[in-house]
Symmetry: C2
Subunit: 362 residues, 2 copies
């Protein structure tokens, strides 16, 4: 059933998006600012479920591409957000009818809200990943043969481009170097698809899930319930580890924020490896979670999601995991987003549902 | 008066283009191969003088962008050459009527011949520089307000893109990183202009000049006349130096072939600094020629032009200079292509016509 995004919902949405962003997706409050501004200026956004999208709808994704570490200092404007969508409408000679989220993490949950508001278009309650991933082609529609091309991009200076490449991976490569050159963050729109294909390929209800996670964290705090345990339950996940951040290495290279963090706790030392998003979690060398499953770091007490760029020495955190959309575990999906793609010589670890949510393993 | 490019003219054109390429523009014989192939397949190309281009003609430039050192190993195909022009025709909704040379150097003199043949369009006897320069915005039309945008590009794999940027320098920046990512050479088309603007902004008769230089070198050899002196006379230039190449440093970085060469001779040691093209010539530290004037290295005996990537230890060479189109010496032009732009802390050296052609200075 369709629902409406009002300004009051933005903080909870942004918080939930930061959880599902698995450490990536940038500072959720920047995206929230932009979405809030767009709602004030253009009014509320109608959200439609995937079932409600007509088969012949013209759907495109809207997202920020670049290193989230840079976006903290470079707030995008609404012009920059809507320009790529307008480019695609012109390119096809027929208007885009629905905006979809490419990923459900961080700013890329809230920027499409801003785009939908400014364009006066409905937003789809769903996304292409059910989480966040660092590269553009890492989206379930790729597995359904949806082309990222033509991909339109824009920066805050007024530079605009369109890429039509031979594969979604080539779109990623060309757009990525453009993003780096243009100041490490650009707005993009692409993955043009019919409503029917959107219905098949996107992850259902993920915007609702963001809102639910964000609200449950607030409610738990008010009710003096443990917000981390609550989040684990909502996501059908489990607690992996708790401890104190003792080390963070981070570098912004080739448009990504790459690094690793160490967390010391009673159960040993957890090492987290990330490339925008958390990709591998190990305890004393034993792998306990990997991409494509979701690895999230939350503040120990208040359950606030901590992005990879927000990790600091001395933070008390809990690390939780949740299962990815089942389609991410297909062999061709693992090839695209499994640990080996990111350079870790590891088999993908399969989320173990037999462990009770909240139970500390190892 | 219009004339026709037949396959027999290609070798002389390519040789002359290599001279005017001032060390850059890539291996002229690769461009010649491509042009020859296109003429065989599609027939001869009509060349029209700038005076003959109708005011309302739709003119675009065609060129290769990238490091010429790479092109030696990656021969472009005709599809790659014509795709960007077709993209622009579609973009404007009206067909391109004339092809122009962005620069007169190396492959960028012969690739537009291939494009004109394959597209069945007339080629303009003129170019945007009267020489070769390493960056896309370094073209006289920029000084006349002609926008490089939209710039279309294509690679040999089938990747295509269009850039619309806020300045020609931004087009250069975004296209350059795309070129590097796509394998260090792409075909581009842009600088869409009317026939009238082409007439005002392009350098006249430069394709004829290529042909003349190339022919004079062959004729001189046949007639046992010094081909280097002949070239100097045709270009209204002068001999700067003669000697033996003793050192060449070269690196392909950020899409350019950068480096320096040392030449030992009776008059001292000449140092040449280049970035795709020769930009500064000094004898024992005294500057004797700089960009925007033309600095060219020719084989001592047979007058064959030597590109920066063709420079080798032990070669006996003569270095000659010739004046650039006068418009390149305007202050705003010097800002764009003067020595300081390239990082050399030097005033632009003005070509000294008082020195008799062929006279060795210093």
């Amino acid at each position: 059933m369709s629902w409406t995004i009002t300004e009051e919902l933005i903080p909870a949405l942004a918080r939930g998006a930061a959880v599902l962003g698995t450490g990536g997706g940038g500072d959720p409050y920047i995206g929230a600012l932009l979405a809030g501004q767009a709602l004030q200026q253009y009014g509320n956004v109608e959200v439609v479920t995937l079932d409600e999208v007509p088969d012949d709808a013209v759907v495109v994704t809207v997202a920020m591409m670049g290193a989230p570490t840079v976006m903290v200092e470079k707030l995008p404007g609404l012009d920059e957000v809507v320009t790529p969508v307008k480019e695609l409408s012109e390119h096809y000679g027929k208007p885009v009818t629905h905006i979809a989220l490419a990923e459900v993490g961080g700013v890329n949950s809230t920027i499409p809200i801003a785009a939908a508001a400014a364009l006066g278009l409905p937003l789809i309650d769903g996304d292409g990943m059910g989480r966040a991933f660092p590269e553009l082609q890492m989206i379930l529609p790729t597995l359904y043969g949806v082309e990222a091309s033509p991909l339109a991009y824009a920066d805050e200076k007024g530079n605009v481009g369109v890429i039509r490449a031979i594969s979604n991976h080539w779109v990623e490569r060309i757009a990525r170097v453009a993003a780096v050159e243009m100041g490490c963050s650009i707005m993009i729109s692409g993955f043009h698809m019919s409503g029917r294909t959107a219905g098949e390929s996107l992850v259902k209800d993920s915007l609702s899930m963001c809102l639910r996670v964000g609200r449950e964290i607030s409610n738990a705090r008010e009710q003096k319930i443990d917000p981390v345990e609550k989040t684990v339950t909502v996501l059908g996940g489990r607690l992996l580890f708790e401890g104190k951040v003792t080390d963070v290495e981070r570098a912004t290279t080739t448009g990504f924020a790459r690094g690793r963090a160490s967390i010391d706790g009673a159960a040993g030392t957890m090492t987290l490896q990330f490339q925008n998003e958390h990709l591998v979690a190990q305890i004393d060398g034993d792998t306990v979670a990997t991409t494509p499953d979701l690895i999230m770091v939350l503040d120990h007490e208040n359950g606030e999601p901590i992005t990879t760029e927000g990790l600091r020495y001395g933070q008390r955190v809990r690390v939780i995991a949740a299962p990815a959309d089942e389609r991410w575990h297909a062999p061709e999906a693992i090839e695209m987003v499994g640990p080996r793609y990111f350079g870790y010589d590891l088999e993908p670890h399969r989320f173990d549902g037999s462990v009770r949510p909240g139970q500390v393993i190892a």
